[in-house]
């Protein structure tokens, strides 16, 4: 048998299509009679809707319908909460605002027309009158006594308070040689997929069924939501995911527009499409990152961490479409790879008059890693200990794994770090970044008038969450293998990595595997692509299904070849007799016989019909990826401009299926982290107006902002799944803000500036330097 595909940098199967312009995105799809939807969004952060008059919009030539909440009748109800929590007072979005709007961008009315331009013309003609209410914008003021209340029936704006604690923090603080207290302010950012959200729906009156083409990360969740909202069985909703141009989290959520397109198609029995534009992506798709942390870290003189206390406020925006995943994940990521016996961690999730929060790549972890890693650096400086030594002293050692930090993860499981070597990861990353030569480089840089700094960050990431993902494997008469998996890609190369797993199990060429992803008709159940889970959960499902089909192929071949199954093996698309090699039958021939070859003829005795099966993988626990980032930066003290001179990541995602693709995942994640650290910031004014709704004002990293990233994979297989894989999709984003901020803080230490925030724009760094009078 040839070398296994797993572990090889197989070129991406999808790239020929995507790079030659043959990709097919929702915006490319056209159906006869298709109408286009446009959404009127609230211009007010907090206001009563006094009047809404749609008559002029309805009278516009080419307009099919203009609806406000009242026109939807009983369909205008709040969406089901996907992830409930006992301490959460949950308010989820509804299709159209009713009586009151609670954030700028909230859908208020909807128009369907023959073209998008006409639909937008009609939006201009909607006469709407608001009575403004005081907006709740600053998350720290949300909980004060006289703050306006956003949701009727609540006593205040606290959505939930989560606490995890262990040991005796007060006693440990008293015993400590030093207690460091800091406050961190982390700003809002977004995930900027270059293709925005997009959805097209065709309702078939004859079969009373919906066909949905959606640019989504979670087709089965989309299907489930529509089935619930239209009170039909899931069988009546088929969701197909065509090519998707980026996701990063915001496309894992079911939004008002997803319902509204389906509703308009249902009402008029016409295909209806909506494609989000960039402004809508800022105002209508979820945000993240914004948090305030008040932290205390207690240490012994030798650097041993004794206790950790954190009280954070997480601004959830106006609704919680995905519950309180982000604060929950931040909270359970704070201890990271360090042994800390005493902790009290409290997350206060609050409502505000801003765009709702959802998971962005990293999902609350970049913030946790930022806070913890900044605290470790501040402690090292205070105690006069080397920053590497303090980390090595407190890191969970490899022989201590599996290790339980005493935290419960968001899925309710007791967190158990399954495998890894955290100190080695840190040492490798430092070595990749040429840490040993850094001090010489620093001196040279200083002579040239720059401030030079090095920063590092270590992290542990719970990845590969449940509940399940499925794979269907079917061998066809021509010997090709049809592989279907529920969780769709947004650019990650799933067609290739999943085919590699399948090809290895079946002993066939990766070219012989035809992959279909994200079509609910091919698999009844599925979860989606998020939480670094497709390789872990989907990949193991592919392994199970491929193995089951291989077994069936051998059983069938045993009958055909009249040879005991134990003597048979598979290779190169054939089943053959081991050692002898005298008898063999191809997968195609087996498939033809298992399909029943002669119409009207008998089915052969002792053979199971069909050479196909579906299997689901249900992980019992997340698996814990981990890694270390090191950044070296240069700052121009006169302008505050930061240049990243060197960047290194040593990363352990267990068994690497395709190193080229994992490199790409890391690099893309680091790019996002550079955005969080240096560039990306959503500005709200005091009235709750978002000031950054285009790429003029909200900047994301471009090629010139992302340095060469030295990447190394430390492969320590997961103990929790047969493939031994751990998640890789978010690792780059998780460590980068902390490593870069630590490097900036290190560079600025001669001028007495500390870093307690992100992003760090040139203006902000200049201001910090100036405030120190340096």
């Amino acid at each position: 048998m040839s070398d296994p595909y797993i572990g090889r940098a197989v070129k991406r199967k999808e790239d020929l299509r995507l790079l030659t312009g043959k990709g097919n995105f929702v915006d490319d799809l056209k159906l006869p009679g298709m109408a286009h939807m446009a959404v009127l969004r609230s211009s007010q952060a907090h206001a009563k809707i006094v009047k809404i008059d749609l008559s002029k919009a309805r009278g516009t030539k080419g307009v099919l319908a203009a609806f406000a909440s009242a026109d939807l009748g009983c369909y205008n109800r709040s969406f089901p909460l996907l992830v409930p929590h006992p301490s959460l007072q949950a308010f989820t979005p509804q299709p159209l605002a009713e009586g009151k709007v609670i954030y700028v961008g909230e859908p208020v009315a909807v128009v369907a027309a023959n073209t998008r331009a006409v639909a937008e013309d009609a939006l201009d003609l909607i006469d709407i009158e608001y009575e403004s209410l005081q907006a709740v914008v600053c998350s720290e003021e949300t909980l004060v006594a006289n703050s306006p209340i956003i949701h009727d029936g609540m006593a205040n704006n606290l959505a939930a308070r989560l606490v995890q604690s262990s040991g005796d923090v007060d006693a440990a603080m008293k015993q400590a040689d030093v207690v460091i207290r800091e406050r961190f302010l982390l700003q809002r950012g977004t995930g900027q997929s270059i293709e925005g959200r997009a959805v097209m729906v065709q309702y078939d009156r004859r079969t009373k069924s919906f066909t949905v083409w959606a640019s989504t990360q979670a087709p089965h969740l989309h299907q489930r939501m529509l089935a619930e909202l239209f009170s039909c069985s899931e069988d009546k909703v088929r969701v197909i995911v065509p090519d998707v141009g980026g996701g990063f989290g915001p496309k894992g959520i079911f939004y008002p527009e997803d319902f509204l397109v389906a509703y308009l198609s249902y009402r008029f029995s016409r295909p209806v499409k909506w494609v989000e534009d960039r402004r809508e992506h800022f105002l209508g798709s979820v945000h993240e990152r914004e948090q305030v942390h008040e932290v205390e870290l207690a240490l012994r003189q030798d650097g041993t961490i004794l206790a950790y206390r954190d009280r954070m406020i997480v601004d959830m925006g106006a609704y919680v479409p995905w519950g309180i995943i982000v604060p929950s994940v931040t909270l359970s990521s704070l201890l990271g790879p360090y042994r800390i016996a005493n902790f009290y961690l409290e997350a206060n999730a609050i409502y505000s008059n801003k765009v709702p929060i959802g998971q962005l790549r990293g999902a609350g972890r970049p913030q946790a890693v930022f806070v913890t890693e900044r605290m470790v650096d501040i402690a090292a400086v205070r105690l006069g200990i080397d920053r590497i030594d303090i980390r090595l002293k407190n890191l969970v050692q490899p022989e201590a794994l599996p290790y339980t930090p005493g935290l419960v993860y968001r899925d309710g499981s007791l967190m158990t770090y399954d495998s890894g070597d955290y100190p080695s990861c840190l040492r490798r990353a430092l070595s990749l970044a040429n840490e040993e030569e850094f001090h010489t480089n620093r001196q040279n840089g200083r002579k040239a008038g720059y401030l030079i700094g090095l920063g590092m960050a270590c992290f542990v990431e719970a990845s590969g969450l449940g509940p399940l993902e499925g794979a269907s494997v079917s061998i066809k008469r021509n010997g090709r293998v049809a592989l279907a998996v529920g969780s769709p890609p947004q650019g990650q190369g799933h067609e290739t990595t999943l085919a590699q797993v399948c090809a290895d199990e079946l002993g066939i060429s990766v070219e012989a595997v035809d992959v279909t992803l994200g079509d609910t008709e091919r698999l009844s159940y599925g979860t989606g692509t998020f939480a670094s889970r497709t390789a872990v959960v989907g990949g193991n499902a592919v392994r199970l299904a491929s193995r089951a089909v291989k077994e069936r192929a051998i059983q069938t071949a045993a009958k055909i070849l009249n040879t005991p199954a134990e003597e048979l093996a598979v290779s190169e698309g054939k089943v053959f007799r081991r050692q002898m090699h005298d008898k063999c039958v191809s997968f195609g021939e087996i498939a033809a016989i298992a399909a029943g070859s002669v119409p009207g003829g008998p089915f052969p005795d002792g053979i199971q019909p069909g050479l196909e099966t579906s299997c689901y993988f249900t992980p019992s626990s997340p698996t814990y990826a981990n890694g270390a980032h090191v950044a070296v930066v240069q700052i121009d003290p006169h302008t505050g401009f930061v240049k990243i001179l060197r960047y290194a990541v040593a990363h352990d995602c267990g068994k690497v299926i395709n190193p080229m693709i994992v490199d790409g995942q890391i690099h893309g994640g680091v790019a996002h982290g550079i955005g969080d650290a240096l560039i990306e910031k959503l500005h709200y004014d005091e009235n709750g107006q978002l000031q950054t709704t285009s790429y003029l004002s909200y900047l994301i990293p471009t090629a010139s902002d992302v340095p060469f990233i030295r990447t190394e994979h430390i492969e320590i297989p997961s103990r929790f799944n047969p493939l031994g894989v751990k998640g890789a999709g978010e690792a780059g984003a998780i460590g980068a803000p902390a490593a870069i901020a630590n490097a900036i803080a290190d560079a600025l230490s001669p001028v007495g500036v500390s870093i307690r925030e992100f992003p760090l724009s040139p203006n902000r760094i200049w201001q910090l330097i100036k405030e120190r009078g340096a």
């Binding site: 331009a117 937008e120 013309d121 302008t639 910031k681 950054t692 004002s697 900047l699 990293p701 203006n763």
Partner: protein, 298 residues
């Protein structure tokens, strides 16, 4: 994000275009490279009733080099100017500045005239025009007139162009062979709008004193401007570090404060000083290097 409906005209001669403009007046808008107008229309910030597309008027695209001046037709693409070999020798300030305009794809479409007429406060070409004391040729159906670049820019996005007029050409007087030029800019990311940018020209006399200096800034304030105060301090002086410091501190005189999410007005003023200082230092170094090598050669 779709534009409101508009009528579209694509004249093939300048005369034809001017006739359409005189017919529609304020309802019409001239489309050159479309790199600012089209996004503004899609945001519905601009809603012209008629678009007059002048991309099919060949007579508006040219670069002329003469002994005395350099003339550039309004519809010359920025990339043409950036890559023109004669300009690299005769007027390097133009290609040096154009490299800072956005990204290559945008410069392939964007035009010299379009950028000047749009008058974005951060537009590099405005600073170059002011620094080069360029003259701008404007035409309507009735008349042709020349406006100095100093009088052309009125404020952010406003110029002395009337709705019935088309910017036809910009003309730069050639610089003396002894003059050195520089363009420096700081933006959030490569290709972004300038937070501050400076265009400068310097010539020293035989004694090493400042014979000629012109400094123009964009991005830092709401309108591009000449740093006249700084120039006055420098002229006739030996450019010691003390003189430079004094001159640079005057560079924000005449700057109209401007701030946005990327940079406060205070920071922009600071960057204007830092860049002017660096620009002057680079110019002095270059002049000295040249004098040095010329002396060695003779």
């Amino acid at each position: 994000m779709k534009s409101a409906a508009f009528d579209y005209r694509d004249p093939h001669t300048l005369a034809e275009a001017l006739a359409i403009l005189s017919q529609y007046g304020e309802d019409a808008k001239v489309l050159a490279g479309g790199q600012s107008l089209v996004p503004m229309m899609n945001f519905r910030l601009a809603r012209p009733a008629v678009i007059v597309d002048i991309n099919r008027i060949p007579e508006l695209a040219y670069i002329l080099n003469t002994e005395e001046e350099i003339c550039i037709g309004a519809m010359t693409r920025q990339a043409e100017v950036e890559t023109d070999d004669r300009l690299k020798r005769n007027y390097p300030l133009l290609p040096d500045a154009i490299r800072y305009i956005a990204h290559p794809a945008i410069r392939n479409r964007g035009t010299i005239g379009g950028s000047l007429a749009h008058a974005d406060p951060a537009a590099e070409l405005a600073a170059v025009a002011l620094c080069g004391e360029a003259e701008i040729k404007i035409r309507s159906q009735e008349q042709q007139r020349w406006v100095s670049s100093r009088e052309f820019f009125h404020g952010p996005y406003t110029t002395s162009l009337e709705p019935v007029e088309i910017l036809e050409e910009i003309k730069f007087p050639r610089l003396s062979a002894a003059a050195e030029t520089v363009f420096l800019e700081l933006s959030r990311r490569e290709g972004d709008f300038a937070m501050a940018a400076v265009a400068a020209v310097l010539e020293l006399d035989g004694d090493g004193n400042c014979h000629q200096v012109r400094i123009a800034l964009c991005g830092a304030g709401a309108v591009p401007y000449r740093a006249v105060g700084t120039e006055k301090i420098l002229i006739g002086e030996r450019l010691t570090s003390k003189v430079l410091t004094e001159a640079v501190s005057a560079v924000t005189e005449g700057l109209e404060p401007y701030n946005d999410v990327h940079a406060s007005s205070e920071y922009r003023e600071h960057l204007a000083r830092v860049l002017t200082h660096r620009a002057l230092e680079q110019l002095i170094e270059r002049v000295e290097n040249r004098n040095h090598s010329e002396n060695n050669a003779s």
